[in-house]
Amino acid sequence: MTEPVDHLVVVGASLAGLRAVEGARKAGFDGRITLVGAEEHLPYDRPPLSKSYLDEQAPEATTFRTADVLRDELGVDLRLGAPATGLDTTAKQLQVGDTSLGYDALVVATGAAARTLPGSLAGVHTLRTLDDAVAVRAALDAGARTVVIGAGFIGSEVASGARKRGLDVTVVEALPTPLVRAVGEVMGNACAALHRRNGTDLRCGVGVAALEGTGRVERVVLADGTAIDADLVVVGIGAVPATDWLRDSGLRLDDGIVCDEYLFTGAEGVYAAGDVARWYNPLFDRAMRLEHWTSAAEQGAAAARNALDPSAAKPYQTVPYFWSDWYDSRIQFVGVPATDEIRVVEGDPERGGRMVALYREGSRLAGVLTLNGQNVIMKYRGLIMKRAGWDDALTFAQQRKAA
């Protein structure tokens, strides 16, 4: 039998952490909750930061809940601007700088940090935090000539935001095809075409040799010797799970905190959620780590419920889902980008416009990508949830086309 939980500590005060707190209260937990966050800010929403937050009009705050709601309604002891520095799973102590916090149950939701390039020139930013977004926005307001390094989703959204303002934008991508690992070659090219169609200068298959300038970035020099003048450089080359502080914790780390299907880390009372968690997703029979809004929200709540009552723990499974808004197009993906076969069932990657592509793994529908396919994407998510076969998916696609 496990001891009842008096004190739940949630480390990481972004979406997954907030949902852990809310999930615990919703489950009827009335003990102490402490929420520890590395940033000074109250928990805030990230997807808008690379989207509407960069628009010309004054941005709306993306804070989820006020401090009053967190303290008074949710009864949370807030520790913000306080990065966790260590974890002793035997003594059940979370180290936060000089402070030690004892816990009965712990949800680790420290997220991921944007990968950076070496150097410290002003005008070079990543885009992950609110502070990043404020800085990028200010540069766009000043009419920055913008270079985006990495044609992934975040970088592409920044490019869209800059183009909307009529600014010159260059996107530099080291791979010959952008997003090839995320969506495959054909659809990677279809996405890349959106940049070209919207006046963004996309350069693929060329690396960055140097960022140059005196104190502030002035140009980006590519591996082929080309120099591109820049006032703003946004580095969008992915994120790494924030697990450095857990190095000596004994938790199993392998591109994230390794968890079972219950989001349980193996250390008594310790669960993980969100971008930092590599958990076993029963729906796909494999371990995965997602950096998506939906899974972060759901895992936060699930991890808290399981941590509070391990004997009634429920496995967490999901069909991964993400969306990205580029120019006037919405890209949506459900499932996993399997590579056995990728079939475009609607639209023409050469021509642009609406597109639907199905991803096969064995005899199963594993993933679906749509460009402006809002009316079908979730129907496919339902099919994947039900472990639909490839043939059934193709039949459904035919019916949709005929409709």
Partner: protein
Amino acid sequence: MKIIVDRNKCTGLGICESLAPDVFEVNDDGDLELKTEEVPDGLLSDVEAAVAGCPTEALRLEQ
């Protein structure tokens, strides 16, 4: 229980449709449609999941 959609917040992402397809559907224009405004019997937990799962906090339930 009545389902309320804040049209200023909803962008038709459709998570709700995948969680409660008998209640929510994104139409051909990319806009969310309610198939029913009242939560149908037996679907309350699905609709609650849809409310919680909305990335733009555009959904709420009212008595």
